[in-house]
Amino acid sequence: MTDRSVPIRDMRLDAIRAKVLEGTRLSFDDGMLLYETDDLAGVGALANVVRERKNGNRAYWVRNQHINYTNVCNKFCKFCSFYAKPNGPQAYTMDMDTVRARVLDHIDHPITEIHIVGGIHPRLPFDYYLDLLRTVREARPAVHIKAFTMIELQQIQIVAGKPMKDVLVELVEAGLGSIPGGGVEVLSDRLHAELFDRKLDGVEWLETARTAHELGIRSNATMLYGHVERPEERVEHMVRLRELQDDTGGFLTFIPLSFHPENTELAHLPSPTGFDDLRNIAVGRLMLDNFDHVKSFWIMNTPAVTQVALWYGADDVDGTIHEYEITLDPESGKKQVLSRGQLLDMIREAGRDPVERDTLYNIVAED
């Protein structure tokens, strides 16, 4: 008789089901099998066990705004459509008046988080980053500032000419609250050499995250999938994140990112499918047993898949996302945004309880 609580079709998943029900950690080989099996619904059912154990029926969302302060970047990652070459026709860098205006544009929205990331601009001084944080904090003192991927932090450290620890302390004094999870892509030497060799490597990314966590600064971790990475590289990525999390406990959320090939050097590749999106969320949920949260970032995965993902391991949908410029709506070429009402409808229709959170998962409101 089929186990009613967690139905699987592929009986090779039986041992993993036993481990999941007991709460035993999954191995690298387990991760490989979760990628290999055709039984995605079975993988989803297993991920849902962990999802409901950790987060009950809650689905988190946040009211947030993004500021992408520059698209100038000297890293030329093959998977990126956002960067402009320095002095290129479409290059921009926001001055402080622009940053302040962007914040004030949304001052009537009850936003709790401003997410700030940009390209690696070789000529911005340390003071630019400090001013950026101070400007946002002055314009909107109550908001939490989540800023600068580990890649940007490395650049900031270079221009600051100080140890990373000191740089982080100064950034926190200027307003930094936490660190987003981008820039890690996939923790693999092969992929680093092939796709983003000018950017810091996996060891450096993890060490930067460790330094931040040791100072009490929380961060997220992402995984960019659907380009040329292999399943074993995804599993390895998850295992390495899990190891660091065992040491520091500093990661808040794991965020698989669905690659968008349009306008990148990898434009010949097909887009990740709905199966890919759900599977990476589900496997992430199962492997990363020491992460509290797994997010389906609706801008990358589409709102439709995100709603479904709430039953495949995801407990977070990100948020309203004002002013996101990195991947535009493929149809209209415009910035994408969801209203509070749309987010609540999406979560409620899927039978989950919407909870508005702030960046650190403090509850703002249970609707």
Binding site: P7, D38, T273
Partner: protein
């Protein structure tokens, strides 16, 4: 728990009731619904195969007096945007299809007061004379009923004459929701439930196969949808004439009906699972990538769907209501494979006729209205397709 009782019936192969379907409708547990739907899907189709057909849509007229509130495609017969394609234009479209290796046309249009049976007889005869192996899947129930009326013929006589002219199977479009109070609300001048089912019954009795469809997400309730499925199931018990079922969500842009909320992919997956579980006697269930997009359409393969529908070449009806996803045969195959299934080409009777690996896009998808798509494959493939299709026709005649 009520759902456990339903699950036991599914595993035991028992038929589900209206109340069982309501219990399924109350569950949000997607992986569980997927698991149950897969139980039925793999009982009917044990192999991990997903089919589709290399076919073209031809909408011969948009002139229509019926004014269905959910439709953005029609123009009133005197509207300056009303069109009727000439036989020459239609033949040119068929020629394009055949040139790139297609073998099936889905021909449907509005209820145009000027087009009586002789128009269709001459059109179908011309198509068959020039392209004898092309399968004509066409004229939906509403069109056949209307042609019968304005030609002063019985339904049976109309079907016999259309079939003699070359129309082989009947698409299930216009099923909408087979509950009269819903039909009155969304399409007051169109056929009622018993008329729709009656025409299908006559066609099946004559040996013509058809599909059945459902358009959900307008004004109906979940109860109405389930009643629809039960009406289809009852007729199928009588005739066995339905080859497949397709369900798509109402696309409101440009129509007279504006629902408070739009149907979602999440709702579609649940609808597909419930449909697969209720329609235990209809062999095939189609994906709706035109309305749902490639991601949700692919995921629906885990929710009871075993067919990816048709390569349309053009789509004019749903795209008039604001939704126009397009897929090439190569992309359809990739989505199917990436979900762990093997893609196969089928004919209108769901016989497997070929391997889409030998399909090659012959020109890039052109930007513009609807779906633009074309395929080529080798002569050997075409021969096999034609042979298989003649066999099916022969079986039908028998």
């Amino acid at each position: 728990m009520r759902l456990d009782v339903v699950a036991d019936k599914v595993y035991a192969g028992e038929r589900l009731t209206f109340d069982d379907a309501m219990a399924l409708s109350a569950s949000n547990d997607l992986p569980r619904l997927a698991h149950l739907a897969q139980h039925v899907r793999f009982r009917l189709h044990p192999e991990r195969v997903v089919t589709f057909i290399a076919s073209r849509n031809i909408n011969y007229t948009n002139a229509c007096w019926v004014q269905c509130k959910f439709c953005a495609f029609y123009r009133l017969p005197r509207d300056e945007q009303a069109y009727t394609l000439s036989n020459q234009e239609i033949l040119a479209k068929v020629e394009e299809l055949v040139a790139c290796g297609g073998y099936d046309i889905l021909i449907q249009g509005g209820l145009n007061p000027k087009l009586r049976i002789d128009y269709f007889e001459s059109l179908f005869r011309e198509i068959k004379a020039r392209f004898p192996t092309v399968h004509i899947h066409g004229l939906s129930v509403a069109e056949v009923l209307y042609v019968a009326k304005i030609s002063k013929l019985s339904e049976r006589e109309t079907l016999i004459r259309l079939r003699a002219a070359g129309m082989a199977t009947i698409p299930g479009a216009g099923g909408e929701i087979l509950v009269d109070e819903v039909r009155e609300a969304i399409a007051p001048y169109k056929d009622r439930t018993d008329e729709w089912l009656g025409l299908m019954r006559t066609a099946h009795e004559l040996g013509m196969r058809s599909t059945a469809t459902m358009m959900y997400g307008s004004v109906e309730t979940q109860e109405h949808r389930i009643e629809h499925l039960i009406r289809v199931r009852e007729l199928q018990d009588e005739t066995g004439g339905f080859t497949a079922f397709a369900a798509w969500s109402f696309q409101p842009d440009g129509t007279a009906l504006q629902p408070k909320r739009r149907s979602t992919g999440y709702e579609h997956l649940r609808m597909m699972a419930i449909t697969r579980l209720m329609l235990d006697n209809v062999p095939n269930l189609q994906a709706s990538w035109v309305t749902q997009g490639p991601k949700i359409a692919q995921i629906s393969l885990d929710y009871g769907v075993n067919d990816f529908g048709q390569t349309m070449m053009e789509e004019n009806v749903v795209s008039a209501a604001g939704t126009a996803f397009s897929l090439t045969p190569g992309e359809m195959s990739r989505l199917i494979r990436s979900a762990g299934y093997v893609p196969k080409l089928r004919n209108t009777y769901y016989d497997i006729v070929g391997d889409p690996d030998s399909l090659q896009p012959s020109r890039p998808v052109e930007p513009g209205r609807g779906v633009s798509d074309s395929t080529t494959w080798d002569a050997d493939m075409r021969r096999r397709l034609n042979a298989s299709q003649s066999d099916s026709n022969a079986q039908q005649e028998a």
